[in-house]
Each structure stands twice: as structure tokens, then as C-alpha cells.
Amino acid sequence: MHRRSFLKLAGLSSLFWSTMLRDLCAAQGPTVAVAEGTDHGRITRSAINALGGMKRFVKPGNTVVVKPNMGWDRTPELAANTSPLVVRTIVEECLQAGARKVKVFDRTCNDQRRCYQSSGIEAALKGMKNVEVKHLEEERYRNVALRGKALSEWELYGEALSADVFINVPVLKHHGLSKLTIGMKNIMGIMGGNRGSIHKQLAVALADVNAVFKTHLTVVDATRILTAHGPQGGDIRDVKVLNKVVASTDIVAADAIATTLFGLRPEEIAVTVEAHRRGLGEMRPDRIKVIRV
């Protein structure tokens, strides 16, 4: 192709993209399933089924990473960690879809042994075949080039990088700095190094990581939420029972809809806004197809 015709084509196609195609694509919008009910196992399953079932994501023989938030030495009812029942249901669905191995881990803030124990997740998955609940091993971190606005590179956990399917299972809760912590913030659990240092530009840094590290499925645990003193909580009076589970392939959309369940608007959450601006997903509720089950 001649240089001139290439430039023409490139120029025209970018024009075409910005004016028409973009809206066309956006119009289709992502789908978010919101399931409600007191049987938290059942609503987790129905939220995933509303998106087409786990078989859509997990193919036979796949290695799956299920990444809950179990960063704190708190018991399940305090809503600082993902509900063990939700995690167990997702793991069961993965196995049923034919997963060869399901790995469940988190980089914890409190002592890892106590977090795995108190969160109830280790116990909930105990004895399940082909399921690994292991502490992180520092040698598995790999330096990943992010080329982002805040982070040029960062260490990410090898088993998350090498997994065929990555399922992000955050809990919806209050956070002192970012207002809320949901799906995109939960990805911090696979980050190595001095994570605290990214707090000075948390939203930008999280968007940097999420732009490179792709979550295949996000399932937000909003069965009960921590409304204040997050992300750690510790007072049962800060906990509100919502009996909801949110699922989507679009992490930004999942975060946005979960935000509305919390009673906030997506544009109030800096990470969501930053991620949407970069085209990582949709945050406008009117462009998101919400399936309620």
C-alpha cells in the first residue's frame, strides 16, 4: 500500500470509529446480572447462569483462578471478606464446567493464616478435589510491563497470569480512601511489592493494572455489605444485608452497578471513572443491560 493511501485509510477509519462505530459498539453495551435472594449459593449460580452459565467461561481442562477478597482477619458476618458460600458456589460451578484445577488465593493484609481461617473460605473449600487454597509464594511474582500513567511496571502473581480463566470475586464494601472497594480494587490482591505506595494515585494506578490484567468474569458479593469503617470494619452495626450478587464480564460495569446498590453513583468512584475514560468498560447505567433474577 502506498503511504498516501494508508494515511487516508487510517484517517478515515479513525473518523469512522470516533463518530459511528464507537456508538454502535457502545449501544450494545455490557450485560450485568443482579440476582437477589436469601439463598446466597443459589443467587450466585443464577447470576452466572443469567450471563450464559459458567460453561461460557470455563472450558474443560482449564486452570481457573478464583480471587476472593479475604484480606482481613474477620469472620464472614463482618463483611470484610467475600462470603465463603459465594466463593464455594463459584468453585463448584467451575469444576462442573470441567475445570482441571481451581486455585483460590489472596494477598492478605493481616496474617495470611488467620485470614484464610477467619474468612471461612479455607474451611468452605476444604476437601474439594482439584481445588487449591494456598498461601502466596513470593517467587511466583512476575514483573509485568504496564506502561500506564502511574505505574510503568509492577509485579503480578504468576498463577493469576498463567491461569486460563480469572474470576474476580470481590465483596462490596466501604473504603476510607476510594469510597468503595469492588472489582477493580480487588485486583490489588494479585499485586506484589509495596502496594501501599500506589495509594497516592490509587485510581490511576488501579486503572493501569486493570488495563493490562484482564478479568474474565467479575462476581460481586453484595450479600451483605460493609457500610462504614472499611475496608476492614469489625463492627456488626456497620453491616447491612442486601442479599444480592452482581455478575458481569465487564469489570467496570459490574463495579458501576454494584455502586448503585450501595446507594452511590458510579461517577463518584474515581477508579470507575478513570477506567471508563480509558475504555476499559462501561459505567453509565443507561448503557448497561441489567438482568434481574
Partner: protein, 517 residues
């Protein structure tokens, strides 16, 4: 292969028990530790006597130690010959160490010059017997040096294997997990005094060069104490001298028998002599035989106790700056009471979930050597954990239920605004607030408008400490993302009154709904 004597079998069983308990002194998924190595200290008469002398009152925990002392009045030094794990270690290695004649200073009254000052110092409120306690020497050598060394080596190899095999290493993981979960320390902390701890242990072993059980006979303060009790013991060996024609029993005796007459205070009651006597003439029986010669000269007794007085009074200097960071384990209210009881055995440091406790080198002066100090930058006190109090053999760290332990004050956190990011660099951070475990948050933040360094207006979350809620656990200092020195530090306090049960600012609504009901 000789047939093992009952004493040897008992020794091996207790050594194995010691090692198993040592490995059990670690968090294994349960909030309570059922059995820990502290059992050996609770049954340790030296710990019992010095703790009672220093505390000037009855400490129920040391009752087993007093009972052992009482039994020693009847059975002699059975503890040394049948139980003591350090003695067993010495017995196991002594065959490989060539022997030579002991120097004259070792054969004299030196053991009393070691024991009596320790007792005297305890009487004058300084309990440092643990520094020379045989079980503490062994335990510290293991805790601070050998166990972390093994952990570091094995885990280093495991990491190296990842470099070679990559994820293929997972095939070997089940085997490694078994070793990792049951034999290795959870994290291999580097301890100050690691080398000194090993050195003391090695020195004790090297003393074997001057004859079997030289440490036990000629230095060990615990052995000397038990020897004093053993003088009253009616359990005696007959005949009390070896037959001149044979002397096999004298050769077999781990305690020497080099003074031609049975020395009750040095006899370990191991009964090796009974097993070796070809004629079956040697036996132990209960009978009265009074010891004629005096235990020691009066000047040794007085001099020893007096040096204890000096010991207790002259090593109290403390650097005030170091004192500001002298953080004690949770539940320790006053420094004095703590020093009366602390054995310096290292168990709290072994069990500490976050490896937050380290032996004091200079922070607490000479009198505080080897006592546990919390160093938040290395590890913090885990909010829901009560392990250190559970394993402390003398309740120097009280064993508190979690609800009470959470309210015990270790110190108070203070921001250093010259370092703390929001103040010094005008950027958001709040990692400390995020990690503060107090449900109502002892670290809070307010959004303030600051002018940036180019004069622009910035909205920054500025953190502050609520003193009434802070228990000084140190997680804030631990997680502060600044390198080296943290932007928030925990400082020691004299007044460590616990936080009130109903925390201020806790706006408890009467009849507040439990969302799970």
C-alpha cells in the same frame, strides 16, 4: 550396641517431647495452643524459685516447678538425669568430643558463684536466671538461630527450584507442604542475638571436653539448685565408693565419680552404674545418710548473694531514647512486674504470629537482655491473636481472652508530619487508617484543603490518631508505605491502662439491630 538404660529411654522421650512441643509453639489454625514448650519451664525449679523470689508472691503457674524441687528432695537430681533436654543433647554428643583435664577454676565453687548471684538478684527484683537456664539456652538456640536457619535453607532451596522447574514444581508441592506445615517456622525471622544464642549453646556443648556433663555438674544453675535439694535425698547409691578392683561404674558415670566417694549433689540418678556393675552389687536404695561436709563456705554464700544485690542494682541504666520505643507484648502493664517474671526463654518470640517480638539487645539496658520487644516495622501485634500470653510460662505476659487483649495498650501511635505523605508531600495515602483494626478506627482522616508546593489548592485526606482508641498494635507503622522510617510510629507509655470496654465515640444505639437475626 548397649542395652539402653531406663534413664536413657526417658531422656529420649522427653527430648522428643521437647522438640514436638517446640514445633507446636506456632499458630496452626486454632486460636488456642493446646500444648506448647512452656510446659518445660513450668516444671523448671529454677524458673519457679527465681520467679517467686522476684515477684514476692505466689505464682500458680510455676507450681509444677516447685513440685519437681520437692521431688528432688527425695529422688535427687532425677530431673538432670531423666528429663532435662539439654542434658540429653550433651549425653548424645559427648562420645564425639575428646576429653581433657578440666581447668582448676571449673572444679571449685564456681557453680555457686553462678547460682547465688542469680538468686540474690531475683531477691532484689531482677530475675535474670533465664539467661543461664539450661532449657532456656537450648530453646533460644533453637528459636533464634537453628530453626530459622533450617527454614531459610529449605525454603530457599524450594524457591530456587521454582527458578529451575517453574510451575512444574507443583508436582513436588504436596511433599514440601508437609515439611513446610509441620517442621519449618512459618516465617524465618532474623533475630538479633541469634549468634550469641547459638554461641552459648555451643559453649555448653564444648564444655564436654572437660568431662561428661561438665556444664551440668560444674556450672548449670538449675543443676546446682537441684543438687542442693539432692543433699537431703534419702535415695543413695550403695556402695558409696567404687570397688578398687573394677571401677567400671566410675567410668560409666556421666557425672564423674572422680572424688572416690559418691557425691549426692552431683549424682544424676541415671543409674548407669547399676547397669554396668558386673557383680550386681551396685544399687540405689532409700536410707538415711547425712552429708557431713558443708555445702559451701560462708564467704561463698554471702559473697554470692551480695553480688546478686550488686547485679540487681548496677545494671539498671537505660537509654531514655531507646526507652521511647521499648514496646512490650500486649497485657504487660508495668515494666517492673514484667522483669520480675520474664524468663527470657524466647517462647513469645517463637510463637508471635507476625514475628513482631524480638529479644532486646540494648533497648532495655543490660537488665533487659533477651526480654521481648515489639518492633512494629518488622511485625505488628495481630488484633485477634492471644498466643504470646498463652505460651508465657510465668504469666509475665498474661493469658487474656481476645476481648480483653484487644483493649490492652502497648503504646500510642503518633504521626511524624515531616515524613507522613499527606503532610509532607500533600498526596493521599491512608494506608494506616485502612489497616487500623479498631472497629471505630483509632486512625481517622479529615479532608483538608492544602496549598501545594506551586501554590495550587489541593484536597488531601489528612490522618490523625484518636488516642482514646489506640492500643498501639503497630500495624500502622508496619504497613506505612514509606521505606525505612515510617510516617507514624508507636511510642511506649508508662500508663498502660486498657481501653475502656465501651469505646468513646461508639454510638451504640440501644437495641441496635443485628442484621443476622
Amino acid at each position: 550396641m548397649k542395652k539402653p538404660t531406663p534413664a536413657r529411654i526417658s531422656q529420649l522421650i522427653f527430648l522428643a517431647l521437647f522438640l514436638v512441643l517446640f514445633l507446636m509453639t506456632e499458630y496452626r489454625g486454632s486460636d488456642r495452643i493446646v500444648a506448647a514448650v512452656n510446659g518445660f519451664f513450668r516444671a523448671n525449679p529454677l524458673t519457679a524459685v527465681t520467679t517467686l523470689l522476684a515477684a514476692k508472691g505466689y505464682v500458680p503457674l510455676v507450681l509444677p516447678g516447685l513440685l519437681v524441687l520437692l521431688f528432688s528432695l527425695f529422688l535427687g537430681r532425677f530431673f538432670c538425669g531423666w528429663l532435662c533436654p539439654l542434658g540429653t543433647v550433651l549425653d548424645l554428643v559427648t562420645g564425639r568430643i575428646g576429653k581433657t583435664v578440666p581447668p582448676s577454676w571449673l572444679t571449685g565453687r564456681v557453680k555457686f558463684w553462678l547460682l547465688l548471684p542469680l538468686l540474690g538478684a531475683a531477691l532484689f527484683n531482677l530475675n535474670i536466671a533465664g539467661l543461664f537456664d539450661p532449657i532456656a539456652i537450648l530453646l533460644r538456640g533453637l528459636t533464634f538461630c537453628l530453626h530459622p536457619l533450617v527454614g531459610d535453607t529449605v525454603r530457599g532451596g524450594w524457591r530456587g527450584l521454582y527458578g529451575i522447574m517453574g510451575e512444574g514444581r507443583d508436582l513436588l508441592a504436596p511433599g514440601f507442604r508437609l515439611v513446610n506445615d509441620y517442621l519449618l517456622p512459618f516465617r524465618e525471622a532474623l533475630y538479633p542475638l541469634a549468634f550469641a544464642s547459638l554461641l552459648l549453646l555451643v559453649l555448653v556443648i564444648c564444655l564436654e571436653r572437660f568431662g561428661e556433663r561438665t556444664w551440668c555438674r560444674r556450672l548449670c544453675p538449675l543443676g546446682t539448685l537441684l543438687g542442693m535439694a539432692a543433699r537431703f535425698s534419702p535415695l543413695v547409691r550403695t556402695p558409696d565408693a567404687p570397688c578398687s578392683s573394677c571401677r567400671r561404674c566410675a567410668a560409666a558415670c556421666p557425672s564423674g565419680f572422680d572424688r572416690e566417694l559418691m557425691q549426692k549433689e552431683e549424682c544424676l540418678a541415671c543409674m548407669a552404674c547399676v547397669a554396668t556393675c558386673p557383680t550386681g552389687k551396685v544399687g540405689f536404695s532409700f536410707g538415711l545418710r547425712s552429708e557431713e561436709k558443708p555445702l559451701m563456705e560462708r564467704r561463698v554464700l554471702l559473697g554470692g548473694l551480695l553480688s546478686g544485690f550488686f547485679l540487681a542494682r548496677l545494671f539498671r541504666f537505660r537509654d531514655p531514647a531507646a526507652r521511647a520505643h521499648l514496646l512490650r507484648p500486649p497485657g504487660v502493664r508495668t515494666e517492673e512486674e514484667f522483669l520480675h517474671r520474664c524468663v527470657r526463654c524466647g517462647e513469645c518470640m517463637k510463637v508471635c504470629l507476625r514475628s513482631a517480638l524480638y529479644p532486646a539487645l540494648a533497648q532495655a539496658g543490660v537488665e533487659g537482655l533477651y526480654t521481648p520487644v515489639l518492633i512494629p516495622r518488622l511485625g505488628y501485634c495481630e488484633y485477634n491473636c492471644t498466643l504470646c500470653g498463652q505460651v508465657c510460662p510465668t504469666a509475665a505476659i498474661p493469658d487474656l481472652p481476645p476481648d480483653l487483649k484487644k483493649r490492652e495498650v502497648i503504646g500510642k501511635a503518633v504521626f511524624d508530619k515531616n515524613h507522613c505523605l499527606p503532610y509532607a508531600k500533600r498526596v493521599d495515602c491512608i494506608v494506616c487508617e485502612e489497616h487500623c483494626p479498631i472497629p471505630q478506627k483509632a486512625i481517622r482522616s479529615e479532608t483538608v484543603v492544602m496549598s501545594g508546593f506551586r501554590g495550587e489548592k489541593l484536597s488531601v485526606k489528612a490522618p490523625y490518631v484518636v488516642d482514646e482508641l489506640c492500643n498501639g498494635c503497630g500495624i500502622c507503622e508496619n504497613v506505612c508505605p514509606l521505606e525505612g522510617k515510617a510516617g507514624i510510629e508507636v511510642f511506649a507509655l508508662r500508663d498502660r491502662a486498657p481501653l475502656p470496654a465501651a469505646l468513646p465515640g461508639d454510638t451504640a444505639v440501644p437495641g441496635a439491630e443485628d442484621p443476622y437475626r
